[in-house]
C-alpha cells in the first residue's frame, strides 16, 4: 500500500525561554495527517496546540524554538531544511491560517493584492488571471460581492470576513496540507458551518490534501473532523476516530470534558465539572499532568508520567489505568 500520510510529526518539542528556565509548550508530539483527512487537535488555552502548529511549520516566534522531533511532509524532512530551503514548502506544502485575522493581514495592501502575491509566488499565472482567481477565491469562502471586495483593504472587512479572507489567502498557494488555528472562533455560528463545509468539500474533492484543524470547540470537532487528537498540558493524551471519541472517550480528561458540555439534556445545575484549573506549563504537577484534577487518579499517577500507548487499534491514550471504559 502506498503511504497515505501527507504530514507526519514525531517527538516534536517546542520551548519558550523564561527567566526561571525554559517552558516546554509541546512536549513530544506525535501526529499525522493522511490524504483526505481532517484531523482535529483539540485542547484548551495553554495546552500547547498552537505551539505545535507553529513548530511543525517552523514559525515559532523567537526566542521560542523547536528543540526536538521530526516533521515530514510527503517525505521531506522540514526541520533539517535551511530557512531558504523551507520557504517553498510554506504555502504550497503546508499553509497556515493563524488565529488572529486582524494582525495577519497587511493593512496597506488590498486583500486582492495579497492573494495575487501568493498566487504568483507559487505559480506562473498572469497578473490578470491571478486577480480573477483572487476574486473567485473570496467568493468560494463565502464573501459576498467578491469582485468589489477583492479591491478593498483589511480595515473595510468585518472580523468574520477577515478570517475568511485569510483562509482564501492560505488556499491560494494550493497547499497539500492546511493547518488552521481556531479558524472559526472569531466567526458567528451562522457562518461557521459554511467554513467547515468548505474545508470538507476541498478535501473530499482532492483540491486539498488534508487539514489539521486546531480548536477548543468540541462542536467543531464533531461536525467536520475524521480523527481527533486531544492535548493537555503540552502532551497528546488521546487519539481516536471522531465517532469513537464521542461515543467512548478513554482518557479521564476527555471523558470529563465531553460530559461537562452544557446541553438541554442535562438538568440545570447538575453539570459534571472538572475541579481545579488548567495547569501553568512552567509549574506542571509531577507524574501525569492531569492527576490533580482527575476523578479516578491513583497514587502512582503522581509518580509516573504515562506514555501515549495503543489501547486498541486506531486508539491511543496516555493513562496509567488499565481498565478504561
Amino acid at each position: 500500500m502506498e503511504d497515505q500520510r501527507l504530514l507526519e510529526v514525531s517527538g516534536l518539542r517546542v520551548e519558550f525561554p523564561r527567566p526561571d528556565g525554559p517552558v516546554c509548550a509541546a512536549r513530544g508530539i506525535d501526529l499525522s495527517v493522511g490524504k483526505g483527512e481532517i484531523v482535529a487537535l483539540v485542547g484548551e488555552s495553554g495546552s500547547g496546540k498552537s505551539a505545535t502548529a507553529l513548530g511543525l511549520i517552523r514559525l515559532v516566534p523567537p526566542p521560542g524554538k523547536v528543540c526536538g522531533g521530526r516533521v515530514s511532509l510527503a517525505g521531506t524532512q522540514l526541520l533539517s531544511l535551511s530557512e531558504a530551503e523551507i520557504r517553498p514548502f510554506r504555502g504550497a506544502g503546508i499553509a497556515y491560517v493563524p488565529q488572529e485575522p486582524g494582525v495577519a493581514l497587511s493593512p496597506v495592501l488590498t486583500i486582492g493584492a495579497q492573494i495575487v502575491d501568493v498566487i504568483r509566488a507559487h505559480r506562473k499565472v498572469s497578473r490578470r488571471d491571478a486577480w480573477k482567481e483572487a476574486a473567485a477565491s473570496l467568493g468560494r469562502v463565502g464573501i459576498p460581492d467578491p469582485e468589489r471586495r477583492v479591491k478593498e483593504y483589511a480595515h473595510e472587512f468585518s472580523g468574520g470576513m477577515k478570517q475568511r479572507a485569510l483562509i482564501a489567502l492560505a488556499l491560494a498557494a494550493r497547499p497539500k496540507v492546511l493547518v488552521a488555528d481556531e479558524p472559526t472562533t472569531a466567526i458567528d455560528v451562522t457562518l461557521q458551518a459554511g467554513i467547515l463545509d468548505l474545508f470538507r468539500g476541498l478535501v473530499d474533492s482532492q483540491q486539498l490534501g488534508g487539514v489539521l484543524l486546531i480548536t477548543h470547540d468540541l462542536g467543531v470537532v464533531a461536525a467536520v473532523c475524521d480523527r481527533v487528537l486531544v492535548m493537555y498540558a503540552g502532551r497528546i493524551v488521546e487519539e481516536a476516530p471522531v465517532e469513537q471519541l464521542f461515543e467512548r472517550p478513554l482518557h479521564p480528561y476527555t471523558r470529563a470534558l465531553i460530559a461537562s458540555m452544557p446541553s438541554a439534556e442535562v438538568s440545570r445545575g447538575d453539570l459534571p465539572t472538572i475541579p481545579g484549573q488548567v495547569p501553568d506549563l512552567s509549574r506542571l504537577p509531577g507524574g501525569c499532568s492531569f492527576h490533580p484534577r482527575c476523578a479516578v487518579a491513583e497514587p502512582r499517577c503522581q509518580e509516573e508520567d504515562p506514555p501515549l500507548r495503543e489501547d486498541r487499534p486506531g486508539r491511543r491514550v496516555a493513562c496509567l489505568l488499565e481498565e478504561l471504559p
Binding site: P144, D188, D217, V242, L257, I258, D270, P272, T273
Partner: protein
C-alpha cells in the same frame, strides 16, 4: 410582588458615528425597539450573533448607558425616571457580571476591596463587619476567605470570574445581567461557573438576563429565550418550545447552525444561511432579516413585521406566520 419583575418596552439606543470629515452624521441602531419581560426568579436567555445588540440591551436596562427611548419598569419602579441619587440606591437591586473578569476588575484593588466596595458604597458594612461579610461572600463563590488579601492577577480566569460574581452578589440583588459570563473561560472550568450561577440563583431566588451566543449553554440554563437580530427581538418563548418549535427563519437557522458535541447531530444540519449580519448603520428595508432569509416573500422587503403571539408565551416577528406558510416547519431530522 408583581407577576413580572422587569418590564422593558420600546427600548432604543442609537450610537452616532461619523464616517468621515464631510459625511453626514449616521447612527448605529444598536437597540431599536426592544420589549422584554423577566419574572422573579427566572432565567431569560438573550441570544443572537455579535452585532445584534444583546450587550447594549443589557447595559441600557441597568442604565450603565442611557437609552434614547423606552420604558424600564422594575418591580413597579420606573427605572428610566430615577435621578442619579435614586439610581445609586436602586442599584442594590440589579447587578451585572461581565464577560471578561480580567478587564472588569480593577488590578490595583485587592479582592477584599473589590468585593467589599459595593457594601461600603451603600453603607451596609465597614471595618470588621465588612471583612467578615466579604469572607462569607468569597466562601459562597468557592474561594478561601484568605483570597481577600490577594490581587486579581494572582488568580486564574475561572477564579477571577468567581470574584466578579461575589462582587455582583454582595448587595443581594434580585436581578443580575450576566453578559457572556463563561465565554472567556477555559472549557474545562466553564461548567464549574455555570453550576455556581445556578446554585446562587436558586438560593437567593434571583432573576438573570443571561446574554450568550452558545445555544447549548442557553438551552441548559434558561427558562425562556429571546432571540435578537439587528436591534430587535425576533422571537421569544420557553427554551423548550424554541428548541423544538422555533418559527422564525432566523431562530431556525441559528439553532441548526449550532454544533453540538455529538458527531451524529453535528453532521446533520441544514444549509447555512447566506451572508452575514448587515451593518446596523445601514439597515435593510422591511424585515431586517429578509436579505438572508431563505423563506422571504416580496412583502418582507417592504413591511417591517411586528411580534405576534404564536403559542403559549411564544411570540415571533415574521410575515410568513400570517399566511400560514408552513410556519411550524421543524429542524432537520436525520
Amino acid at each position: 410582588m408583581s407577576e413580572t419583575l422587569l418590564t422593558v418596552r420600546g427600548l432604543v439606543k442609537h450610537f452616532p458615528v461619523s464616517t468621515g470629515l464631510f459625511s453626514s452624521r449616521q447612527v448605529v441602531r444598536a437597540v431599536d425597539g426592544v420589549d422584554l419581560d423577566v419574572k422573579p426568579g427566572e432565567i431569560l436567555g438573550l441570544v443572537g450573533e455579535s452585532g445584534s445588540g444583546k450587550t447594549t440591551t443589557g447595559r441600557s436596562i441597568l442604565r450603565l448607558i442611557e437609552a434614547d427611548a423606552g420604558r424600564i419598569d422594575f418591580d413597579g419602579i420606573e427605572v428610566n425616571r430615577l435621578s442619579r441619587g435614586q439610581l445609586r440606591r436602586f442599584r442594590r437591586r440589579m447587578q451585572v457580571i461581565f464577560q471578561d473578569p480580567s478587564s472588569s476588575l480593577n488590578p490595583r484593588m485587592t479582592v477584599r476591596s473589590l468585593v467589599g466596595e459595593p457594601l461600603l458604597v451603600h453603607g451596609i458594612a465597614h471595618g470588621a463587619e465588612l471583612k467578615r461579610k466579604v469572607g462569607r461572600l468569597l466562601e459562597e463563590v468557592g474561594l478561601e476567605p484568605s483570597a481577600g488579601e490577594l490581587y486579581p492577577r494572582e488568580f486564574s480566569g475561572g477564579q477571577r470570574q468567581r470574584i466578579g460574581i461575589a462582587r455582583a452578589l454582595a448587595l443581594r440583588p434580585e436581578f443580575i445581567v450576566c453578559d457572556e459570563p463563561v465565554s472567556s473561560l477555559d472549557v474545562s472550568v466553564q461548567a464549574q461557573i455555570i453550576n455556581l450561577l445556578v446554585e446562587l440563583q436558586r438560593r437567593y431566588r434571583m432573576a438573570y438576563l443571561f446574554i450568550a451566543h452558545d445555544l447549548g449553554l442557553v438551552g441548559h440554563l434558561c427558562d425562556r429565550i429571546a432571540v435578537m437580530y439587528l436591534g430587535r427581538i425576533v422571537e421569544e418563548g420557553s427554551a423548550e418550545r424554541l428548541r423544538m418549535h422555533a418559527v422564525h427563519p432566523y431562530t431556525k437557522a441559528l439553532f441548526s447552525s449550532s454544533l453540538p458535541a455529538d458527531p451524529s447531530k453535528a453532521r446533520c444540519r441544514t444549509a447555512p444561511i447566506p451572508g452575514e449580519i448587515p451593518s446596523p448603520v445601514d439597515l435593510p428595508s422591511g424585515c431586517r432579516f429578509h436579505p438572508r432569509c431563505p423563506e422571504a416573500v416580496p412583502r418582507c422587503r417592504t413591511e417591517d413585521p411586528q411580534l405576534k403571539t404564536v403559542g403559549e408565551g411564544h411570540r415571533a416577528a415574521c410575515h410568513l406566520l400570517e399566511t400560514g406558510e408552513d410556519a411550524l416547519r421543524n429542524h432537520p431530522v436525520c
